[in-house]
């Protein structure tokens, strides 16, 4: 067994300018450190099959949220009235991050033999009427995203999927903190970002999804 532990650093390998492929590779590399790189693809698929598809459901749930956020910031950057300065810069960064999450989750789901959900229709009401109203809804989405991933985390079966979800949730938390800073709110609503139930998250997201 100890022979399989000789490359622990692979699990934390640094990938500059991480692409969608690199994101998938992070999990694959971690597994590859144990089983040898050539076996990684089939191995991941097999692990997922054993996991009973729960991870795929979680990934698709996350993908839905990321679609929502990606669309939100894409529209916000284009059409928020009076969006300037730090808020505009942050909105642009967040848009880029969310779109990368969408790509990565889509690719991961496919890679694991699943079918990615489609982007939902969205409706953000008057959120883009002003910078303030945009930031207010942004805070809701980011805090929601943090709670969603934190709630799903312990249910994830595959270590590589957990690693990916952890990597994304930290970015969502970073977004949430900075949006709150811009709004003059306490940067964390609590010292502990409690996980939310999937249903709570879906209920909170529902008003912004067009049937």
């Amino acid at each position: 067994m100890s022979k399989t532990m000789t490359q622990p650093e692979l699990a934390a390998i640094e990938v500059k300018g991480m692409t969608r492929e690199a994101f998938i590779m992070r999990g694959a590399i971690a597994a590859g450190g144990v089983y040898g790189l050539s076996t990684v693809g089939p191995f991941v698929g097999q692990a997922m099959a054993q996991g009973g598809g729960g991870d795929l459901d979680i990934l698709n749930f996350a993908l839905t949220l990321e679609f929502l956020e990606g669309a939100f910031y894409t529209m916000a950057v284009k059409s928020t009235k009076g969006l300037t300065g730090d808020a505009k810069e942050v909105a642009t960064t967040l848009r880029d991050n969310e779109l990368e999450h969408v790509d990565a989750l889509t690719a991961t789901i496919k890679d694991l033999g699943g079918k990615p959900v489609k982007a939902p229709g969205v409706d953000f009401g008057d959120a883009f009427a002003s910078q303030d109203s945009f930031l207010e809804l942004a805070q809701t989405f980011e805090d929601l995203g943090v709670g969603a991933y934190n709630g799903a985390g312990p249910m994830i079966e595959a270590v590589e999927v957990l690693a990916a979800a952890g990597s994304i949730v930290q970015v969502e938390a970073r977004h949430a903190g900075v949006i709150r800073l811009l709004r003059g709110e306490r940067i964390a609503p609590s010292a502990f970002d409690k996980g939310l139930e999937m249903q709570e998250v879906l209920d909170a997201a529902k008003p912004f999804i067009k049937a």
């Binding site: 067994m1 100890s2 399989t4 532990m5 000789t6 622990p8 650093e9 699990a11 934390a12 640094e14 300018g17 991480m18 597994a31 450190g33 144990v34 692990a47 054993q50 996991g51 009973g52 942050v90 960064t93 991050n97 969310e98 990368e100 990565a104 943090v146 991933y149 934190n150 985390g153 312990p154 079966e157 595959a158 270590v159 957990l162 690693a163 990916a164 952890g166 990597s167 994304i168 949730v169 930290q170 970015v171 969502e172 938390a173 970073r174 977004h175 949430a176 903190g177 900075v178 709150r180 800073l181 306490r186 940067i187 964390a188 609590s190 010292a191 502990f192 970002d193 409690k194 996980g195």
Partner: protein, 238 residues
């Protein structure tokens, strides 16, 4: 099979520590010193014991279907306790830092001061919660290490904020680095709830010092225990 994979992959840090522990007495002593303080050394001892005992843990061999290491709701392994103590050591360090910063009165900007105060409160809560968790699990909580932040604080607000940003980014990466190693679901949930809180701190402090709020891009990178302990070494008194 998935259980095996989970364990082996999760043992990266354990392997690194194990290796350190097995090396000559000199480097082991050096490592203990690096970790700092009897509490942390105790945590290491537990950790090493956990490594040695790795094979003792029962594999749910054969029949039992996907019981992949996460269903053990109530029971915590020694490895989990060690991870919580590792996190506790970091939280002690952070908490002490902000308390010293706030006492120093070096932060004059009221907005930044408010942020520092709220982060300080969060870190204290983390210390309390992790201490209680270790006790609840029947372990011995790591003691607060002796810290060495005098030079940082004497360096003024910019150095304080840059150090705070470094420590928070490191803390977030440290939690992320352990997520896959935690066996117990409740402990994982607790760790995740703190991990994202550290992520909030990290981004806000990065913003305050003019760094990217997402220095790793859209996907945050983890750090191993070895990397983290090495990075915090300058702030722990030998």
């Amino acid at each position: 099979m998935s259980k095996t994979r989970t364990r082996e992959q999760g043992d990266g840090d354990v392997a690194a520590l194990d290796q350190l522990a097995r090396e000559d007495a000199g480097s082991r002593a050096q490592f203990l010193k690096m970790v700092g303080g009897a509490g942390a050394a105790g945590a290491l001892a537990i950790f090493v014991a956990a490594c040695g005992g790795d094979d003792e843990e029962e594999e749910p061999s054969g029949g039992g279907s996907s019981d992949s290491g996460s269903s053990g709701g109530g029971k915590a392994s020694k490895g989990d306790i060690a991870i919580v103590n590792y996190a506790l050591t970091l939280e002690h360090l952070e908490s002490a830092f902000y308390q010293q910063v706030l006492e120093s009165g070096e932060i004059k900007d009221p907005k930044i001061g408010e942020v520092a105060k709220s982060i300080s409160e969060d870190e204290m809560m983390h210390v309390e919660a992790l201490t209680a968790t270790v006790e609840q699990l029947g372990g011995k909580p790591a003691k607060a290490p002796q810290t060495a932040f005098d030079d940082v604080i004497a360096g003024g607000p910019q150095m304080i904020l840059e150090t705070a940003a470094s420590v928070e980014n490191l803390g977030a990466a440290a939690y992320l680095g352990q997520a896959g190693n935690i066996k117990n679901k409740e402990i994982l949930a607790a760790a995740l709830s703190i991990h994202s809180n550290e992520g909030r701190h990290a981004a806000v402090l990065n913003e305050a010092v003019g760094k990217s709020i997402v220095p790793d891009g859209a996907f945050a990178k983890p750090a191993t225990m070895e990397e983290v302990l090495k990075a915090v070494k300058p702030f722990i008194k030998a």
